[in-house]
Amino acid sequence: MIDVIIGHYNYWIVIVLMMAGFYTVISRGNLIKKIVGLNIFQTSVFLLYISIGYVSDGTAPIIAEGFTRYSNPLPHVLILTAIVVGVATTALGLALVIRIKEAYGTIEEDDIHNQDESL
């Protein structure tokens, strides 16, 4: 039992981060906090990918004398792309938040909602 918990510690970290991020996205009304939550959520997935690419006792996947076990580089490459996507999303999200702030004067979801309702 304890082996299951400790042996899969990377998954536990991923799950905790994922839930924390997801909860932040859902529960916070502040748009910036939502983006922060989204980032945490995405990061947990990056971690998931990176940890599954790890091979026990493996080294970085660089061809060199004396090393025969390498970590799987593919998930790392994939996640590099995913990180770029994440950065783009964050940048776009922040840009939207700035424009929302300019248009509404607030970045609280409830306030924005009230302003639109009263329109």
């Binding site: 660089i62 840009a95 700035i98 300019e102 004067g105």
Partner: protein, 145 residues
């Protein structure tokens, strides 16, 4: 921040080092860890750091937004152009083997070009994002200065 002598001094010396490191990462990319993404971000970090110390206007004079837009586009075109070039030579898209006489040097050339394109685009886009946020005049309610 304009009066903080130490920072200004360090910034001046640090910038070339950051740029150099960026180029190292860029050109080392086809052998070891590194490549266009990382190099691009590092290079733009150099500019951003400089802008934080000396003000946005200084950097904008050196690297204006319009230039960045062209650079970002050019980067994508270099990347795509490499692919199209290999296609025109009768191979598949991005098949570097055909770019040069022998496949090995072709692979070298190809990845170098593609990474260069990526690097240019990433650094200019990152800078553009920074400009867009930092150069934005926020409504006068005391925030976002």
């Amino acid at each position: 921040m304009k009066h903080n002598l130490i920072l200004r001094l360090i910034a001046k010396y640090l910038f070339p080092i950051i740029a150099l490191f960026a180029f190292y990462v860029q050109f080392h990319g086809d052998y070891g860890p590194g490549g266009g993404f990382q190099a691009g971000v590092i290079l733009s970090v150099g500019f951003i750091f400089y802008a934080m110390v000396f003000g946005l206007k200084t950097v904008e004079q050196a690297v204006p937004m319009s230039l960045l837009r062209v650079l970002a586009s050019m980067g994508v075109l270099i990347y795509g152009g490499t692919g199209v070039a290999s296609m025109l030579m009768g191979g598949n898209f991005l098949d570097y083997d055909l770019l040069s006489q022998d496949p090995v040097s072709g692979q070298h050339l190809g990845i170098l070009l593609v990474e260069a394109g990526v690097g240019i685009t990433v650094s200019s886009v990152t800078l553009m994002i920074f400009y867009a946020f930092a150069g934005r005049d926020m409504p006068a309610d005391g925030e976002g200065q």
